[in-house]
Symmetry: C2
Subunit: 767 residues, 2 copies
Amino acid sequence: MQRIFGVLILGLPLSGVAQKNVTENLIQYAHPIVGTQKMGHTFPGATIPFGAVQLSPDTDTLSYEQDGKYNPDVYTYCAGYQYKDKTIVGFSHTHFSGTGHSDLGDFLIMPTTGPLQLNPGTADKPQSGYRSVFSHKSEVAEPAYYKVKLEDHDILAELTATNRVGFHQYTFPKSDQAHIILDLMAGIYNYPDKNVWTFVRVENDSLVTGYRQTNGWARTRTVYFALQFSKPFRHYGSRKYDKKQAYRGFWGRFDQTKNFPDLAGEQLRMYFDFNTTEGEKIKLKFALSPVSTDGALQNLRTEAPGWNFDQIKQQGQQQWQQELSRVVIQAPKREDKENFYTALYHAFLSPTTYMDVDGQYRGLDQNTHKTEGFTNYTTFSLWDTYRALHPLFNIVQPKRNADMAQSMLAHFQQSAEHMLPVWSHYANENWCMIGYHSVPVIADAIVKGNAPFDANKALDACVTTARQQWYDGIGLYTKLGYVPEDKSGSSVSKTLEYAYDDWCIAQAAQKLGRQDVYQEFSKRAGNWQNVYDASIGFMRPRLSDGSFRKEFDVLSTNNQGFIEGNAWNYSLYVPQDPAKLIQLMGGNKKFVPHLDSLFTMHLPDKFFAETEDITRDGIIGNYVHGNEPAHHAAYLYNWTDQPWKTQERVRMILKRMYHPTPDGLGGNDDCGQMSAWYIFSALGFYPVAPGSEEYAIGSPTVQSATLRLENGKTFTIQTKNQSDKNVYVKQMMLNGKPLTRPFLKHSDITQGGELVFTMSSRPVMSK
Amino acid sequence: MQRIFGVLILGLPLSGVAQKNVTENLIQYAHPIVGTQKMGHTFPGATIPFGAVQLSPDTDTLSYEQDGKYNPDVYTYCAGYQYKDKTIVGFSHTHFSGTGHSDLGDFLIMPTTGPLQLNPGTADKPQSGYRSVFSHKSEVAEPAYYKVKLEDHDILAELTATNRVGFHQYTFPKSDQAHIILDLMAGIYNYPDKNVWTFVRVENDSLVTGYRQTNGWARTRTVYFALQFSKPFRHYGSRKYDKKQAYRGFWGRFDQTKNFPDLAGEQLRMYFDFNTTEGEKIKLKFALSPVSTDGALQNLRTEAPGWNFDQIKQQGQQQWQQELSRVVIQAPKREDKENFYTALYHAFLSPTTYMDVDGQYRGLDQNTHKTEGFTNYTTFSLWDTYRALHPLFNIVQPKRNADMAQSMLAHFQQSAEHMLPVWSHYANENWCMIGYHSVPVIADAIVKGNAPFDANKALDACVTTARQQWYDGIGLYTKLGYVPEDKSGSSVSKTLEYAYDDWCIAQAAQKLGRQDVYQEFSKRAGNWQNVYDASIGFMRPRLSDGSFRKEFDVLSTNNQGFIEGNAWNYSLYVPQDPAKLIQLMGGNKKFVPHLDSLFTMHLPDKFFAETEDITRDGIIGNYVHGNEPAHHAAYLYNWTDQPWKTQERVRMILKRMYHPTPDGLGGNDDCGQMSAWYIFSALGFYPVAPGSEEYAIGSPTVQSATLRLENGKTFTIQTKNQSDKNVYVKQMMLNGKPLTRPFLKHSDITQGGELVFTMSSRPVMSK
């Protein structure tokens, strides 16, 4: 590729970034296809950074149920696309990136030629429906651009997007049977009755509006659209696949299946017919809105007034270049750059924009709200992303991160339960996973001075959330100091995470001078000790009578008091106080070999089957990188006398868990958390405890990295003697002065400066 | 009753009405209970004039289907209440008045005592559920007030309402098991799956918000609510009766059935628990909105900020007094006044207000719109109401009628089909019945000078509507000059009504100087002649080959080319040109006896069974007053040499078809059309052809009537020698000058003045 990118692009929130042009094309290194094979659950399609639209091919639309039973294969289609597949069903407009559960897949578009087929057909018999065979040879997946040949229809499909508009360009053969299908039944993680309602209006010969309302992972979710065609359709029609229409009555006089502009029902598919000449391009602009079809139209007209596909694509790629150039690295190999910028690409997909161009969005109360001074975001996979993604944003996306915190606070204001988000998307709380991990995101922003909002009010929201007695064992947790397993499952995980979240509240309270809150939550922050069984050296489920549960398997993840982790991994989860943990676990002498074992032990086969969300690729020994609870574990050596082991382990994990290939991710990317781990670790440090200002030093893989901060400053990382073998840190110089402890402060970064690592092939044995 | 009513009430649109106090309590004569027995389909509950809330008892909630088949009994429950019933299920907030099809019945509230029962139970075993036995002895139904004793629960229920807020007052016995049920599954004309979605939030210990979305007669309909209790509930809970909740997932951790504030699903019932002391009153304010729960809350706080039930009731009754006093009559008997003011009451129920206090409403496109300078109305039963109800409004409610026309024009603007409303309610077109009878309403307003909006744009909307080739035979109608029965059923009715509607367009065009439109539609207005079969003297279905259909039964209403009428009734339907019709039918000599026969012939039993929507009570001879097509028929004698027969017939119909008793209506009140017929006829004139300025004179039943017009003028009708026997008009003096033709002009009324009838027991035989 021979593109030159400038820095100044209209409307980007980059005004504070150092205005030095980055002339290297960085998007060449970012590969949306990474993670689409096996369990990465990423999508290869077109989207802009944090965009509301993710326009991407779906290779299957499995139903959640098959013959009345859960269909386990559906899990592999969280992002709608599996690299192994041979057919594409169509292109839908909303996708999660890397989640372990799913929803979305709204408004599937498929261009076809030949006799009209309104059913998708099956993968083994693609000609039985509108889907098409495709080949990876014809496939191009770049940031903000996707291209593929739909072989069955001889159509070249190209996709790009603005924030709220999916832009399709289909190059047709000569045909008097050219069709565009709009499948309003298709969706990801589709239940037979996931569609609650569908409403469509054909406004004129090239404009269609409507909405789709679903009951999926989001219980009450409506997405509005406006679809503009570049060419008037000759005919259009629809088929209804449900019996709903309680009173057919006088509607019965009209043939609603053909050229009837006013449709509604539970299950609908539509088609639009064209004649095409050889090589004729039909373009579609598909705008979304959380609020209304009026909003979608406004988004369409504002963001994509014209029909120049290449221009939209170029704008999208310029936005990516802008965002990726917030961190400019040099690395030994092209593959390192590919891993890095692919990770940065994935880290910049979610949370997603959730408001119209005029600031209107749907609130948790299903009312229309309007933001004041911030961009509203959704898709908060907080149990994952509080760990490294939001801390990464506090460095390289502080404005967006503060807006995300404000979005969470708006959620709190609108919550009937008076809770900050747990796992929230599209004006819904889905309660996925445990803890109240909005708290570390908000506390981290406050502690790091990135809270341009009413921080005391934000702290109040954290406190109110943490005091909700009805929520998932908190009542007993506050009474007993731990969640008893006989009353509330996954009790150890909950206790550990509540304790950490509580520590975050205390840190924010201290920063804000709120002593009473600091006292209350500092005390709660120590609750992790209540589930530590010194007799076996593991965290262990405790019962409401105070005793530890007798039946206990430290390797199993199955009903042992943990979630997405076993006792080995989770027992290390005291990010707020590793020193104390190490002390309780017997000090360096006992702890270091224990931690070593995590990475080196042989996990019996039977435990793989029960480890959720990841393949065997995501596990090293008994260390599960494919899930999050032990993401900080490799950095814990920094609190022992052997920090060099952190350097070693981190380099090993970086090497084994990340590849710039479709199967390059060892587990779900989890809305960017896995990628954020990569970015931090590749840069040489990691936020073990968000809510503190400290980063633990690891071992950078880059040759150099420049963080181009929004405050106009830059922080540069240089490595000397960098190589694949030289994984050990011999010396660190911060702005010319030696850094003697393996820790870096947030303000060291934001003040700008330079950190120089001197690498070595041999560990530096002293702390 | 001893109430004194003043005229000036804040916020009423009566500023133009002559400011002379009417001290007689008129609401004493208006009986909401009239029409609740048999097929009147009225409701007895509390509402204000044209109010958005109709808070009324439902005596049964039959399902549209029973054992998979249509349940014919459901038809009798269009308004939710049947006088014969012994039990009340609860009080719901929305009701049509007098329709022949139905919907609504939203948000059923029932107060109970004793063990909680969440199912309604059955009429034969009321104790099997929350419903209660009641007696008409304890029942009071007044405008804006309803009271009844719920015997099973020992609770006195009282209801009143503002425009958008239903106000409940329940007087409880001492109980520690007092409940308020909120049944979100209940509804009128309920299908098993009419509920599409339900969403509820318990905002705090006394405020609940949410919405109900249905797929009923309105295909896509959502009503939002805010429910405020006067006393905090002790507990609350819910039960879900559907399996929807695709991803239970982490929701499963919470017991959503008890004190959980965040509910959604297809089928839900809720309860709220209280302890009560003897005689304790628990009050509820239940606000509706077409837009959002925010809108409902705003409506609640604006219209009913306090808790004084009596004050709200008094306000509501004052509004009724205000509206009823637009026509002040004196009549020979109390029963006449009761008939008159009950009719005026029923005429002032629909169309209903459809916007929030801030002017926001849901449009046909499901977007939120805001009115500019008018009140938005819904519930347009136009096939019925264009005949007499809207013409009545042009005299006594011109401001509202102009607003209704503007509401129709807004509908047109939002219509995907580019059509004015046919039968429209709650941001939906249900297409019920035939024709395009927004046209006569709009044309009548234009011709009568009551069009304070862009009349040319309104005419354009009429023209666009009338030219929709796809709509219900219009294509062939414009091509052939009639709708052919072999292509489109009810073809004669359609042809006749299109021709009349077209004439209306021509009249409006003439008024606006639009010659081209006038020419085009004047021509179309003559199309009725194309379905007149001179060989038999009846309108008759014609086929697309030009021939009249051979099989034909002039008495049957079943598949004879007509709808809600037979050839006898419908062949008289040329309101725009009775003179020509009479001429074609053979002139006075043939026509008069023919018309006589209509009223006097014996209709064989078998035809009763197939006559829709009415009981035998609604038929006189073969004249069907219970349906609308022949409502003008009795007035046609005015175009013959025997207008005295109009006088005679009208008085007969008035006497036989209207009684101030529960069974006092001979058919569905049809959103006020039947009542408007009464009011006009009782005053002595009738708008045979809305769209013209002329009224046909009949025979007044009043002694006197003063029309207190919004322009500040009054028009007074006096009768001399009035009695039950003196039904003939001997002389008419308009402002002291004799009126020689049996016709009155609209401007005669609006200019103010006096019309004096001298009545006689003997007909005046000359024209």
